[in-house]
């Protein structure tokens, strides 16, 4: 009869609806075996993706049957990824672990609202408290609890150049470079009809990085640190001088800069269409992936004026609160902080290990140069990657740089930054 068939259909529908959510809970794995691990990052370009893959292979040695979900969102500096992450966290659907920068980004955005769990016990059990420099571990500590582990430390204030083109023009770059030397070389290149500076700011963080490096180079590390604790204001004469220098550097950039992403600009440098590129050493991964040789095809030097300073752009991972698979996540974090993991990840990525006990022979000339600098230079945080100041100030800086590139109005730029600092609450 019709009604009997209908009631059977209704019953099966109801049963299906009831049982469906139960199917979503898989049996919890005891210890790291099987299970899933969702790793959220913004490592999508050539060298970065290869480095992430090497970490996945290390993890597979610990947990051969585990499945890794590589959740990446493209966009330099994590600008797009952080937006996606925010919505997931607010919606109560966190990935197991995600990429963070220490400092303001980790402590202000994730620790304070309670999105991550502390991993202080991992530091003791894995022995990291003995091999990781206290300075950078403190950047991830709040009220005595440590909330993240770093896989690599990038240097933000680097200047890369195409050595072959410079050799052809008869320009040599020494161990340091001053702004005068830079402009002299740039003028010579411009006269030879070669674009001196490569910039790829379709994502404006690249120009903001150029500004940040120039600012550090002009005012020096002590005053630079003073900007973030309020003792130096953004309209101080030295800062305005840095803004003017930044504007001068922009006169030497390629005309299509706003159509290129940061890695496309590095590619232009590799092709020899432009010569210098101010970028952190995640650009090194691009050179490696293209098969170029250190000091033969390309070279590097600290950004003009910043020799003696090391701008830390470090990458680390966290343990999400209510992570879908905490066991696998802790295993992943252990791999990240391990000697083997850091030795296989960092050469591909361009960063140096956060551990101080790695085998230096496994790293090339650039890494050894960077590790020497990290050991003795003044360490400063980066604002362009969210460490030195809150996200609202970072966006205000990006907006001000966007307008400055076009109107070159130094006074208005300085006033805008002062106002943004006051609104974000870290300056009077």
């Amino acid at each position: 009869m019709v009604t009997r068939r209908r009631s059977v259909l209704m019953l099966s529908l109801v049963l299906a609806l009831v049982l469906l959510p139960l199917g979503a809970y898989s049996a919890t794995a005891a210890g790291p075996s099987g299970g899933k691990l969702e790793v959220f990052s913004w490592w999508t370009s050539g060298g970065e993706a290869a480095a992430l893959d090497s970490l996945f292979k290390e993890f597979a040695k610990v947990n051969p049957t585990g499945e890794i979900i590589n959740a990446t969102v493209a966009g330099g500096g994590g600008t797009n990824a952080k937006a996606v992450l925010q919505t997931r966290l607010a919606g109560g659907n966190p990935p197991d672990t995600w990429q963070v920068h220490p400092g303001n980004e980790l402590l202000g955005q994730y620790v304070e609202p309670g999105y991550v769990d502390p991993i202080t016990d991992l530091y003791k059990s894995e022995g990291w408290d003995k091999v990781m420099p206290k300075g950078i571990v403190d950047q991830m500590t709040k009220d005595g609890e440590i909330y993240g582990v770093l896989c690599g430390v990038h240097r933000g204030n680097g200047l890369w150049y195409n050595k072959k083109v410079l050799d052809a023009q008869g320009i040599t770059v020494g161990a340091t470079m001053s702004f005068d030397e830079f402009f002299k070389a740039a003028d010579q290149l411009k006269a030879a009809k070669i674009t001196p500076l490569c910039v790829g700011d379709s994502n404006i963080f690249a120009s903001a990085q150029l500004f940040e490096n120039t600012l550090l180079g002009v005012i020096g590390p002590e005053k630079y640190l003073g900007l973030w604790n309020g003792s130096v204001k953004f309209d101080a004469p030295e800062v305005k001088q840095a803004m003017t220098t930044f504007g001068k550097m922009l006169d030497y950039q390629n005309a299509d800069h706003s159509a290129l992403s940061w890695d496309q600009a590095v590619k232009k440098l590799m092709d020899g269409e432009c010569v210098f590129n101010s970028m952190g050493d995640w650009a090194y991964g691009e050179f490696v992936k293209a098969g170029l040789k250190d000091n033969v095809d390309f070279g590097w030097v600290g950004h003009p004026g910043t020799t003696g300073s090391f701008m830390i752009v470090a990458d680390g991972f966290v343990l999400a609160k209510n992570a879908p698979d905490p066991e696998n996540t802790r295993a992943w974090l252990a791999v990240i902080g391990s000697k083997a993991g850091q030795e296989v990840f960092n050469p591909l990525k361009g960063s140096i290990p956060a551990r101080t006990d790695v085998d230096r022979a496994k790293f090339g000339p650039y890494h050894n140069w960077s590790m020497d600098s990290f050991a003795k230079d003044a360490l400063v945080p980066t604002v362009v990657h969210g460490s030195a100041a809150p996200a609202a100030f970072q966006q205000a800086l990006f907006d001000s740089v966007t307008v400055f590139i076009v109107d070159r109005n130094v006074d208005a730029f300085a006033t805008a930054l002062v106002k943004a600092a006051q609104e974000s609450g870290f300056a009077e």
Binding site: K82, Q86, A255, D256, A391, Q394, T402, V403, I405, D407
Partner: protein, 348 residues
């Protein structure tokens, strides 16, 4: 009539059998109300309550990832700071320029295509489909494709070399033609100084009021996508114009051109109003096309309020500023849609 017609008494009995007595225990009005109730509730919650929540956030102090719903001092402070930002002023300028360019071109081209199709050429159906295909794409696909087309190094600029235009120009000693398209930060026809003479505070504006060169490729891409839709609406409108009107005009001695200019197009006025309203409210809220094609652009030449909302809410985590911009967009769209709806519902 037919042999199966029923006699009078048979018909009466049939009527009582065929029309069942209404056994409803609710009057009809209540039934209709209950049928509509789920939609009402859903719209009330997911549209109006959310709008109210956004309005509240826009007057609060919520500026970081940590929720802070205390009222701002004064409540409209966020709106003041939003209008004072050069970026938002640039957004308003860009929306105005984009809307005028986009609507003007889309209506003109759509109308021209509809008139051409009206001429009963051979292969009419094929052309109609070709013109309408772009509307089937998503804005994201259009944005990416046109981004590649307008890339100054590898896109349409190559044609200027291939077709011999640039070699010709350099023969005459002129600069080769290589427009920057979306990378061009120039603003043409700047009216800042003119405006400052009339309204002194305009002299302090950082944003250059004029026509940003970079918004033109974006408008071209949007016109390409939507002129087919405009053409389809005009074709539909022309189909309702009976042939007798045209024949009467021909008898009176009007040429084809005059028929279109003086009769058909004025009769299409209701269609034109609908098209203008739909295009206007698309261009006020446009996000995906601009974001994938050009982003905020050099010096915010292609920034639009929707991108502003996205970046302020999700990158800067300034939820109150993002909400204020969203409420502003709502008011702007409402100013356009509400009079149109009142006008069209009154007629029906």
């Amino acid at each position: 009539m037919s042999s199966s017609a029923l006699t009078g008494s048979q018909a009466q009995r049939a009527a009582t059998v065929l029309v069942p007595r209404r056994r409803s225990w609710l009057p009809e009005r209540t039934q209709s109300f209950l049928l509509l109730l789920p939609s009402f509730v859903a719209i009330a919650i997911f549209v109006y309550v959310f709008i109210a929540m956004t309005l509240y956030v826009s007057i609060s102090n919520w500026r970081t990832l940590k929720m802070d719903l205390s009222l701002g001092q004064p409540p409209y402070a966020t709106y003041l700071s939003m209008f004072a930002q050069p970026r938002f002023q640039a957004d308003l300028r860009n929306t105005l320029v984009f809307t005028i360019l986009f609507m003007g071109l889309a209506v003109l081209i759509g109308l021209a295509l509809a008139i051409l199709l009206d001429r009963n050429l051979r292969g009419r159906a094929v052309f109609r489909n070709i013109f309408l295909f772009p509307y089937a794409l998503s804005f994201v696909v259009t944005g990416v494709a046109w981004r590649w087309i307008f890339n100054p190094e590898t896109g349409i600029n190559l044609f200027f070399n291939i077709l011999g235009i640039n070699p010709l120009l350099s023969q005459f000693g002129l600069e080769p033609l290589k427009p920057g398209w979306t990378t061009d930060p120039t603003v043409w026809l700047q009216v800042n100084k003119v405006l400052a003479a009339v309204w002194p505070p305009a002299a302090g504006l950082r944003v250059q009021l004029g026509i940003p060169a970079a918004i033109i490729p974006v408008a071209i891409a949007a016109v390409w996508q939507l002129s087919g839709f405009v053409m389809a609406m005009y074709t539909g409108g022309m189909a309702t114009i009976s042939d007798e009107v045209r024949q009467a005009a021909r008898i009176d001695g009007a040429t084809e051109g005059e028929i279109y200019r003086h009769i058909i197009i004025p009769m299409l006025k209701p269609v034109t109003i609908s098209i203008v309203v739909l295009l206007l409210h698309t261009s006020l809220k446009i996000f995906d096309l601009v974001f994938t094609m050009a982003g905020p652009g050099p010096g915010f030449a292609t920034d639009v309020p929707a991108i502003f909302v996205f970046e302020q809410t999700f990158r800067a985590t300034r939820y109150n500023l993002g909400s204020a911009a969203a409420i502003f967009m709502l008011v702007l769209s409402g100013l356009v849609i509400v009079p149109y709806l009142r006008h069209s519902l009154k007629e029906g």
